[in-house]
């Protein structure tokens, strides 16, 4: 099969993985090297596809042949999709050729499971090894790892890559059993635990140890791990997703959990018929994820047994505020940082700016306008010297209606 065709099949096979980050790697460049490549600082998106997603890495599978039968996946063994496989040298050359033209920040390599976990991992590692060792490539490498692969191979992958990841795919053992019978949540969590340990160990060596230890293989390991969960394939509620994310962030210190709306694929499975991708739900989950990671919210505040799903009409912070009106209005000139973070319409950056400005002068509405805060959103929830909200307004039943999108009028069909 010619290279062009292979590339098209194996990029098509990889596109359902939402991860695109090329940031957070250790700072490195080619000044002292014989090749090309640099990483560090913020990632760079070299292009955008019409799906709004950034194209930062050459994201391909080594092969889309696969032993597994995961029903959300286009590459499952029962799919009729056309199969292809790269030779490791072909991916190496493509990565270098694309990189030299400044198309990409590096490589994101994954693979269908062929023969067994170790054999597949070895093939993936060979690509990264050749890039790093034969070509002194110092760009970004993200390797997908397989939970069942041996410790030695995961170690090797982590030494070569800037980031490694294992996709959890579905949030519960029960769903995996139904839709991805070869996968196991338990094994995935075990592997993530080992990777966490290794990431932290390498970080500590880089920070504290002698120059000799810093150069040792002990100091070399990916700077983080991430994962992906598919949203809308199984019947899990948002509560299940956010509980799982809390588990992943707190127990395994993941850099990112990517939520990927279950997307229609060619050759769908009878076990999992297609629907339109729940893009708003995906968006709300990312917002809730942000609240947990940066704003000090707990999953239990955002969703509960009574309200297991996020409000699709309102962002989760506003929705939380409307359920906790007794905490408002909040005085912008007195509240502490974490309380400011809880005000709808006020992001972390502006909250931090307010903390700085109010050391010199009282915050007034004009300051909020200059900071481009949405007044419509924030006013019912705050107090400033020139603004005292009508507390009755805060108790009013209509407050929610002010923020919710207008109900759509049924269209009258005039044509027959």
């Amino acid at each position: 099969m010619e290279l062009q065709k292979k590339l098209e099949i194996l990029a098509d096979a990889a596109k359902y993985d939402a991860s695109c980050a090329s940031s957070g790697a250790t700072r490195k460049d080619s000044t002292s090297g014989s090749g090309i490549g640099s990483t560090g600082g913020t990632g760079i998106c070299h292009s955008y596809a019409p799906d709004g997603r950034c194209i930062s890495l050459l994201k391909v599978l080594l092969t889309n042949r696969c032993l597994y039968d995961c029903h959300y996946c286009i590459n499952r063994r029962s799919s009729n999709v056309q199969r292809a496989a790269f030779a490791p040298a072909e991916v190496v050359k493509l990565t270098l050729d694309f990189y030299k033209r400044n198309y990409i920040e590096g490589l994101f390599l994954s693979s269908g499971i062929i023969r067994n976990a170790d054999h597949t991992m070895e093939m993936v590692i060979e690509v990264a090894r050749s890039l790093r060792e034969d070509h002194d490539f110092r760009g970004y490498i993200h390797l997908k790892t397989i939970p069942e692969a041996s410790v030695a191979l995961i170690e090797k992958a982590g030494q070569l890559a800037d980031r490694i990841s294992i996709n959890i795919e579905l949030p519960s053992e029960e769903s995996l059993k139904k839709f991805a019978p070869e996968k196991s949540l338990k094994r995935t969590r075990q592997a993530m635990g080992k990777i966490r340990h290794r990431v932290e160990n390498a970080k500590q060596v880089r920070r504290e140890k002698s120059p000799a230890a810093k150069k040792s293989s002990e100091s070399k390991f990916a700077t983080g791990q991430s994962t992906q969960i598919i949203v809308g394939a199984d019947a899990s509620t948002d509560q299940t997703f956010l509980k799982r994310s809390t588990d992943l962030y707190s127990n395994f210190k993941l850099k990112r959990v990517y939520y990927s709306a279950f997307s229609p694929i060619p050759h769908p499975s009878a076990i999992l018929p297609l629907q339109a991708p729940p893009l708003i739900r995906e968006h709300r989950l990312y917002q809730a994820d942000w609240l947990m990671r940066f704003y000090g919210f707990q999953a239990t505040e955002i969703v509960s047994n009574d309200l297991p799903n996020l409000d699709l009409d309102l962002d989760p912070k506003l929705s939380w505020a409307l359920r906790n009106r007794h905490l408002f209005p909040i005085d912008l000139n007195r509240a502490d940082k974490l309380l400011l973070y809880r005000i709808p319409g006020l992001g972390i950056r502006n909250a931090d700016r307010i903390l700085k400005i109010r050391r010199f002068t009282a915050i007034r509405i004009t300051d909020l306008i200059r900071l481009r805060v949405s007044l419509k959103k924030i006013l019912p929830f705050i107090i400033t010297p020139d603004h005292h909200p009508n507390t009755r307004e805060l108790d009013h039943d209509n407050l929610r209606a002010r923020f919710a999108p207008k109900p759509k009028q049924l269209e009258l069909k005039l044509t027959t």
């Binding site: 290279l3 090749g35 292009s47 596809a49």
Partner: protein, 304 residues
């Protein structure tokens, strides 16, 4: 009224601004113009004026100002020199020592905005420069590349180091309308801009375009998000951009096809020994876990 022409970049302006401060010439008495502008009108009023001799000792100039001024000097706005001199005047003769710390001052707000414009422009240049291979140097065996890029501002000198550190192992030249940069493995040379350079087509473009086409998911069209990050003005120099229109046009029918495709039944893995091994692993894990723990086992408890 004094008319001054800034020939080269920042150092030229700095020298002249210092002389103006010492001669106590206020901003309203100076007209800053770009080179070439004078010959355009060719009137005696626009020809450069000599700066009068100093009247005072050189005033102290805050280091912070020099840093921001050096950056702003790369902005394409024609009034950048005037704006910088106004700020400098207020900092020194105007005795507004803390001016730079007041972001709500209209002039400072403008400088901050210009700095933001520049950092976005630099980021987009890092992203959207496209190198084309032109050959190999027979003497060194190094591959040679060139690129043509049209930034909004005069940022070639601000981006050249990034490209040098990243593309150390290849020879390259980047041309922009306001500056160029060449790297040969040893020296980074900054040169003047060029009006336009035709870049060659490459066979590799076809592979990249094939990749772009295949990585796009037609089931989640979000063209606004795409254009917010990759505005149309960049498209003409991106080999993949002319695919965008047809990808959007075909997306709906492609998704429809997916929905109409016959559903495929699952298959057993046959007698594959590895699958058997996995299924055995899973069932032994389940036995261990009974009564089953939905959170995935005892280690699900947060570790402290």
């Amino acid at each position: 009224m004094l008319t001054l022409t800034i020939a080269s970049h920042f150092p030229d302006w700095r020298t002249k601004a210092r002389a103006l401060l010492r001669a106590q010439i206020s901003p309203s008495e100076v007209l800053w113009q770009a080179p070439g502008q004078a010959s355009l009108f060719d009137s005696p009023i626009d020809s450069p004026s000599p700066i009068p001799p100093p009247k005072c000792s050189p005033p102290q100039i805050p280091r912070d100002f020099l840093t921001i001024a050096q950056t702003i000097s790369h902005h394409a706005s024609p009034d950048r020199w005037a704006l910088l001199y106004q700020t400098l005047w207020r900092l020194t003769h105007g005795r507004e020592k803390n001016l730079l710390k007041i972001p709500s001052d209209p002039t400072i707000a403008r400088l901050h905005k210009m700095r933001k414009d520049l950092s976005r422009d630099i980021h987009k240049m890092h992203a959207f420069v496209r190198f084309k291979k032109t050959g190999e140097d027979p003497a060194t065996d190094r591959e040679q590349f060139m690129a043509w890029f049209e930034p909004d501002h005069h940022i070639m000198p601000l981006t050249a180091r990034f490209f040098q550190k990243r593309f150390t192992g290849m020879d390259w030249t980047i041309f922009t309308p306001t500056g160029s940069a060449t790297w040969d493995g040893k020296n980074l040379h900054l040169g003047p801009g060029v009006e336009k350079v035709e870049v060659p087509e490459e066979e590799l473009d076809a592979l990249w375009r094939g990749y772009y086409k295949s990585i796009f998911n037609p089931a989640r069209l979000k063209t606004k998000a795409m254009q917010a990050e990759m505005p149309k003005k960049y498209w003409k120099n991106l080999p993949e951009a002319d695919l965008i229109e047809s990808l959007i046009a075909e997306s709906q029918s492609r998704v429809q096809e997916m929905h109409q495709a016959p559903l495929q039944p699952p298959t057993s893995g046959g007698q594959n020994p590895y699958l058997k091994h996995l299924h055995e692993l899973t069932s032994s894990e389940e036995k261990l876990n009974e009564p089953s723990d939905p959170s995935g086992g005892p280690s699900a408890q947060p570790q402290h």
